[in-house]
């Protein structure tokens, strides 16, 4: 019985290793730390397996174990009240940045559908680089909501912050992400004759 349980667990973990590693890499930004996080997650998940009521929910459950493990260690490392460092303000601009609006310029529309073209031309590395450039407090929220698909209340509970904090960090983080991607699209020539203004 125990051997059957162990085999089932090994099979599930094997199936999900890529996904767990991918999320761990985005959270830690470092391959070695990501591997340690996945290994720790697997050990914890086995120790807590009796808590899993529905075997069909294993994937969501083990991903939660991974996210909780990361957040708990991250908060412990900081050993202080949760403070999100302010994001650097681009050129003193305060208003919200919209990549869509930047790409969707009338003069660019002569060449077809610039926003569609840019988004299909972003490479995985562009997205990874933009995400990795965010300060921890912002990156973790984006990973939980956009990568892991958490709702705002779920992300708030995981991070131990109010839902309003999740909303505001997410909004600022996405603003920053879109600025990074715009810079990349412009530098890589993914926009045609795009404005140099941020």
């Amino acid at each position: 019985m125990e051997e059957e349980r162990r085999r089932w667990f090994a099979l599930q973990v094997e199936r999900l290793t890529d996904r767990l590693y991918g999320t761990a890499l985005r959270l830690t930004r470092n391959a070695e730390d990501a591997e340690d996080l996945v290994a720790e997650t697997v050990a914890k998940a086995w120790a807590k397996l009796a808590e899993l009521r529905d075997p069909q929910a294993f994937e969501a459950w083990i991903r939660r174990v991974l996210n909780n493990t990361f957040v708990s260690e991250w908060r412990h490392r900081r050993a202080g009240p949760e403070l999100a460092e302010p994001l650097p303000c681009e050129d003193g601009a305060e208003e919200a940045f919209s990549l869509f609006e930047k790409l969707h310029q009338p003069f660019l529309l002569w060449w077809g559908n610039p926003e569609e073209s840019a988004i299909t031309n972003f490479l995985r590395e562009d997205i990874d680089r933009a995400l990795d450039a965010l300060p921890d407090a912002y990156r973790v929220v984006v990973v939980l909501v956009d990568v892991e698909g958490y709702s705002y209340p779920e992300a708030a509970e995981t991070l131990g912050v109010p839902v309003g904090t999740v909303r505001s960090r997410l909004s600022r983080a996405r603003d920053q992400l879109q600025r990074s991607l715009w810079r990349h699209a412009r530098d890589a020539g993914l926009t045609i004759g795009g404005s140099n203004e941020m």
């Binding site: 162990r6 667990f9 090994a10 973990v13 094997e14 290793t17 890529d18 996904r19 767990l20 590693y21 991918g22 999320t23 890499l25 985005r26 391959a31 591997e35 996945v38 290994a39 697997v42 050990a43 086995w46 990549l99 869509f100 969707h104 926003e115 569609e116 988004i119 972003f122 995985r124 997205i127 990874d128 995400l131 984006v142 990973v143 909501v145 956009d146 990568v147 892991e148 698909g149 709702s151 705002y152 909303r167 997410l170 909004s171 996405r174 992400l177 879109q178």
Partner: protein, 73 residues
């Protein structure tokens, strides 16, 4: 619902952070408004790109390490 109301709530809508009534109103607007639909479509695709950032091939070293851990259980 007007375009500015939809755009103001678009991110919350895509994140499923609006109530059912608002979601229905936005759905209806997006069916009829090409401009807002394009914007919503763009933001959806960007979200999909971010979600894909969590998909990476794990190194063989990690797979071997996990096998070693599970074998000891």
């Amino acid at each position: 619902m007007k375009c500015e109301d939809v755009l103001r709530q678009l991110v919350a809508y895509l994140d499923r952070d609006v109530d059912a009534h608002t979601a229905t109103e936005i759905d209806r607007h997006l069916e009829a408004c090409r401009g807002c639909f394009s914007r919503a479509d763009f933001e959806r695709k960007l979200k999909a790109q971010l979600r894909a950032a969590g998909e990476k091939r794990a190194p063989a070293r990690l797979r071997a390490r996990i096998k070693g851990i599970v074998d000891k259980f």
